[in-house]
């Protein structure tokens, strides 16, 4: 059985297309008391960009703290707060930011229409009801959250996505102008999430011709950008947004692999951000992705990036064990990497050895 995949409904793409957001949301503001819930990356607080967000009188705008990875308890708190402010549901939940903010938007919109805590729905196809309309607007590129069918959340017991046909956003705005101000090295780390997706997707048992095609083009764009000496030219900024979109889409037709499985474990204990965490992990995965890791190191060299060292140096043996526990729950990723016999290959000792190097 194949999944009958739901795609993003509409895509507005073009430089400065963000200026059309008011028109896009206007189509949804049908009732007099319609309102939009905007979630905006804290990075923009106090910046001129805030004035460009088309906030109407009844709308709610929340600045999102992204110091930590998205949490189920924050999702639940925002839904409860908005419900306390209005008897109606928003006509769209708009996420303006990176993967964290977009994942918050995708999760929050689902929790307006599904009962209980969002932690109850971490997994595949657990959501019961269609959420409210959701608009995602990336302002940093690489995660693929703008197109993916998952919203990755850290809950009380696990870091795992709410994944399924209800999760993809309804509206995507791709405006290359929005990522021009992203500081380094965040931009590099987030972009490498895309690069790593492509390497993971292409090397495994669950790959498909569709996934390979989308991922191969995304990979070529990553190379164009990061093996050049001009990764921040306007055309390379635009290529990065497209690479992220195609890389995210390719995962719909394949699967992430060893880096994401270990990175999720590492993040659960250390709280390390997804982009940089992936880089720390991927840097040690020559065994799984020899060519990819070699090229990744070249991209770091060309772009003068030094990733954090000794991330696990101060972790206790119990903390390392907890990382391994989380990593081993990600069965579908390991099946993709190693096939059905993955447990013979991915031992606790192997994972411990890798984690100790990070």
């Amino acid at each position: 059985m194949f999944r009958n995949l739901k795609a993003i409904g509409r895509i507005l793409y073009g430089r400065n297309s963000f200026d059309q957001l008011d028109d896009v949301l206007g189509e949804l503001r049908i009732e007099k008391d319609s309102y939009v819930l905007f979630l905006v990356d804290e990075y923009f607080e106090g910046k001129d960009f805030m004035k460009r967000i088309p906030v109407h009188p009844h709308d709610i705008l929340k600045i999102i703290d992204i110091t930590e990875e998205p949490k189920t308890k924050t999702v639940d708190a925002i839904v409860a707060e908005v419900k306390s402010l209005s008897a109606n549901l928003p006509v769209s939940v708009v996420g303006i930011g990176g993967g964290s903010v977009m994942d918050y938007a995708k999760a929050i919109r689902l929790m307006f229409t599904n009962e209980g805590s969002s932690s109850l729905y971490q997994g595949l196809d657990l959501i019961k009801n269609k959420g409210v309309h959701c608009t995602v607007i990336p302002t940093i590129s690489g995660t693929g959250a703008e197109v993916s069918m998952t919203t990755v959340l850290t809950g009380p017991v696990k870091k795992l996505g709410i994944k399924g046909n209800f999760t993809p956003a309804d509206q995507l705005v791709i405006d290359p102008e929005l990522i021009t101000s992203v500081p380094e090295p965040q931009r590099f780390y987030t972009a490498m999430d895309c690069y790593i997706h492509n390497i993971e997707a292409a090397n495994g048992f669950r790959k498909t011709v569709m996934g390979d095609a989308l991922g191969a083009e995304s990979l070529r764009l990553c190379r164009d950008i990061y093996l050049s000496n001009d990764s921040r030219s306007p055309v390379n900024e635009e290529k990065l947004m497209i690479a992220s979109y195609l890389g995210g889409l390719s995962l719909t037709y394949s699967e992430v692999g060893a880096c994401h499985a270990i990175s999720y474990g590492l993040a659960t204990v250390t709280g390390i951000h997804h982009g940089v965490g992936n880089c720390v992990v991927f840097n040690q995965l020559e065994e799984f992705y020899p060519e990819g890791v070699k090229e990744f190191k070249e991209m770091m060299r060309v772009n003068n990036i030094a990733i954090p060292q000794g991330v696990t140096a101060n972790c206790s043996p119990e903390e390392i064990d907890k990382m391994i526990d989380v990593t081993l729950t990600l069965v579908f990723m390991w099946q993709h990497v190693c096939g059905p016999e993955w447990e013979k290959i991915i031992t606790r000792d192997k994972l411990r050895g890798l984690l100790m190097k990070m």
Copy 2:
């Protein structure tokens, strides 16, 4: 202003995924008297494949004659016939076949909800009302009709698509097993529609980074298939379906060019099929696409394809003039090829010279 593009709603992809069609349509059969309108390429008449189509008692199945390119009068006739058979509208119009059958499905579903002849709607954004649900299932690959936002029809005065956000299908089934029986040279001609799309999209003023990325990967897949000596291996059949999908999608972010503009004119008078017509035209367009035409000739050589010669040999000067008239109406294509000053370059004499060589 950028278009807020509507995408295909759902995609079912995988070898033998066609066998899940009954489940897919089952979700739409909500009322007791719900019915589906199937449009099936005449190629399948009397073949075993017909038994695999999940036709329910109230459904209507029509065999579609594709001897000629899709016509507005046929669209209108089928809509009138179905309306005379049932007081309700179908829950989905399902097109099973090539570009012609899929374009019929996409047009017919619109004409259930828009008044008058379909010829009134040939153009951009002329459709007023959302059509009924539409499912497209390619059984020959290359046209991109499975994903495009246009349905190309020949009307009493012009060959032009009904184009806009209402046109894309709602459901796409990509089953690589379905194209294994397509005879040559039809398969080659139709595949070249995809190859030509990619060359046209990449060479012009309206190209975008997104269109380039999708088209570049589609082009690479075409090369994998047609510069190999094994274009009909299972993996190449699957690559061809993906190439067609990505090539069609790339046009949404770019535009076709000189080949399609001239081919539309040629077809209006001679009735030549779109795939073979494109090949006949493209073969003479070194001036516009030197590298592409060279590679196209190499693909013909590798695959032992000989395209028709002397297609315009018996045409009268008046007929050639009519071809030129039609070709010159396709302003947006020529603007893409030559820019705003296109009329200085694309003269009637130049077009006549090209047409006489075909």
